[in-house]
Symmetry: C2
Subunit: 428 residues, 2 copies
């Protein structure tokens, strides 16, 4: 790296974060709660400043020709600002994890062992346009006793600065160091590359955004990274499926919000039910969703005389890997449960897979053998989300099996230490 001033600046931020983390780790729960409530109040009180800052970002985004969907992610309005404040307040109502004792045991040596839950220390979040991540991440990190460095996208620079000022004011009101949450003001990727190397100062990096950003971080990080590149979620219609249930679930999982990582991207159909399932799926989805299918699906559709058969596009290898994030769905006929599992083992992103079946033994084998981070039976993949799965707010999703696997909430920002109490024991 060529810019020694930038290096020094990034190191200085991280050092300040580490010093603040020591204070946060000792801060009593009442003080952490006071801080979150004060932050929520500050966000509401500074609504006009925050919206003005956001308007500057939006103007620049429009001028730069940002896509409308991205502009929508960037945009705040009065209701959304209130939503950010409410989310911070909701985090302050979650159970306190810091200092929680777990798994007490008496050891043969007479020592008493427990595990005590403690914060990780310094969390670096690296994310893109959505300014709400700034206050969500700040609230989760503070509540779990951590300090954080928040490096949002340059598109949201002014919005994040305004939200960061609200967070700092709330921290100060609670007597906690404002450096417990620092907005990283360097918007180029060099600063990220430097930050993720600081393994003596930063305990965890969580990149959120497009696959390009996440790979940029993962390839350079010396600090541990919690990440998922993409969600290629599968739904398998087993021979013993309730076909109406299957169609409802697939429709929901594909069309309710196609641009998110827990939307379904590939449907696998058990050959034993294909002659019924193929026309039913076409009837349900073909008018709204582009289907890319294998030869066999097309042949069955043609044989059934379905009018959509002629327009079906054949899937190629890239389709089995694709995260469309759009109203496009890959469909393949497979040879029963084993065929479905084999396809999933080859192509899944370890995010979420669901089986539709009324056969409990088949469901059990699917649940045991599919190693994705969320495995479902008779439910929409759209439920693979920290909020829906009872974690409270979600800081990220991990498809790496280390530390956290699947949706990650406040508990993922903590670890446990061994606490051993004796009365003079020595080892013989």
């Amino acid at each position: 790296m060529s810019n020694p001033t930038l290096v020094a600046d990034v190191v200085a931020l991280a050092r300040a974060a580490k010093a603040a983390a020591r204070i946060m780790a000792k801060a009593p729960v009442a003080q952490r709660r006071t801080a979150l409530v004060a932050i929520a109040d500050e966000i509401v009180a500074r609504r006009d400043e925050i919206l003005a800052a956001n308007a500057r970002d939006l103007d620049a985004a429009k001028a730069a020709g940002m896509a409308p969907a991205m502009q929508d992610r960037l945009k705040l309005d009065g209701g959304r600002v209130q939503g950010l404040a409410n989310a911070v307040r909701a985090v302050s109502q979650a159970p306190d994890l810091v200092g929680r004792l777990e798994r007490a045991e008496s050891l043969p040596s007479g020592l008493e062992l427990t595990r005590m839950r403690i914060p990780l220390g310094v969390i670096a979040m690296i994310y893109e346009a959505r300014p709400g991540v700034t206050t969500d991440a700040a609230a989760l990190c503070l509540w779990s006793g951590n300090a954080c460095l928040l490096r949002g996208g340059s598109e949201a620079f002014h919005s994040n600065a305004a939200l960061g000022a609200a967070v700092a004011a709330g921290l100060a009101a609670a007597g906690l160091p404002a450096t417990a949450v620092q907005i990283v003001p360097f918007t180029d990727r060099e600063a990220i590359a430097e930050l993720v190397k600081l393994d003596e100062l930063v305990d965890l990096v969580i990149p959120r955004g497009g696959e390009g950003l996440i790979r940029f971080v993962a390839e350079r990080a010396r600090v541990p990274v919690i990440k998922h590149y993409k969600g290629v979620c599968h739904i398998f219609i087993h021979a013993a499926a309730d076909l109406d249930m299957a169609l409802n679930i697939i429709d929901n999982a594909k069309t309710q919000r196609p641009g998110v990582c827990n939307a379904v991207e590939t449907v696998l159909i058990d050959r034993a039910i294909a002659t019924r399932a193929v026309p039913a799926l076409l009837n349900r989805l073909a008018a709204r969703v582009e289907l890319r299918t294998d030869d066999e699906f097309r042949a069955i559709a043609a044989h059934a005389g379905h009018p959509a058969a002629a327009q079906l596009r054949l899937a190629d290898e890239a389709d089995w890997h694709a995260e469309y994030l759009d109203l496009v769905l890959a469909v393949r006929i497979v040879d029963g449960l084993d065929g479905a599992i084999a396809h999933i083992e080859q192509y899944a992103s370890d995010h979420t897979e669901s089986i539709i079946t009324a056969d409990a033994a088949v469901a059990e084998r699917f649940v045991r053998e599919v190693q994705s981070s969320t495995v479902m039976v008779n439910a929409s993949t759209r439920f693979a989300d920290g909020g829906e799965l009872g974690l409270g707010a979600e800081i990220g999703i991990s498809t790496t099996k280390i530390h956290a696997y699947g949706p990650m909430g406040a508990e993922g920002l903590t670890t446990t230490k061994f606490v051993v109490r004796g009365n003079g024991q020595v080892r013989s």
Copy 2:
């Protein structure tokens, strides 16, 4: 990296491990148990071959002038070989973790959520001279449903090959793929550098050995790493300590086995008890242990007229960082609990720290505020060990807070996935 043949060979090993990991993850507990028992039997049956291979390694080590302590770590004899077999058998008696259901909840959507414990997949162990790591690691990885790549030191090349053959024979006897445990036959560091980059094939790297080896791995790894660089363990004699207890514990923690990472390296003495503790510590240890102390300690010793006072060497900054692994101890007078915690925050390696005190409130503050992976009250740091802390066999120790913190046993080789069961739920 300049050697494409080596790259291809390392990738081929890792691919085979990943294929074996899929089979291991589905292998029933009875089959995994059969494999471990068969491996233990094979180790015993092949004792003479194993000892002959070890003799070749020892001859080479002697010829190369290896230090006697290292030769002792490398050496096997009949009793040690039997010990390796017994350790494998003991692992097969531990509770089975694979498929264990945890934390069942009913969600507001009507979905039923549990977590199911699953193997990580492929574990790469990178270690030095001790051949026992080969069979210990193989047993723990297989028992927890993983495959592993074992890259021992070149000093133990023939020993590890002989032990690996016993493991492969045991796997085959149980109908499991021999590729579930592969001895990496490439002894240069280029092969390690290549292996630790394969984040699509390897799930976790555990380096064990000297700080140089561990830094080599950590600086190159793209795969997550569980590691500790060193153990700079502290014992703090608080004003309210039972001084006899403190001396017994310090003596044990320093002298019972000085060459291990949980031996004490620095003793902190509360100024309030220093006039009693300094002469007592000298009386207890000065004949057997070299003390490196601060000025104040020396002044108190001189004032007390202690004969050892004149020979005391002054500690410098390097001593507070030192992992001596020898009969040397750094000693410092500190200003009560706050002084002890401040010293520990600055110098500790996050391994193990112990306080000696009869004051429960002080002990509680020490336990809460010291963020090391093992925190003790009135006990010897030598208990910071997976076996002593009830984990069964230990695969490593982590001083990084991600995934595992402190001694890590079989559970650290697993994670949990979310299992969600519904009856047709869709998200609205």
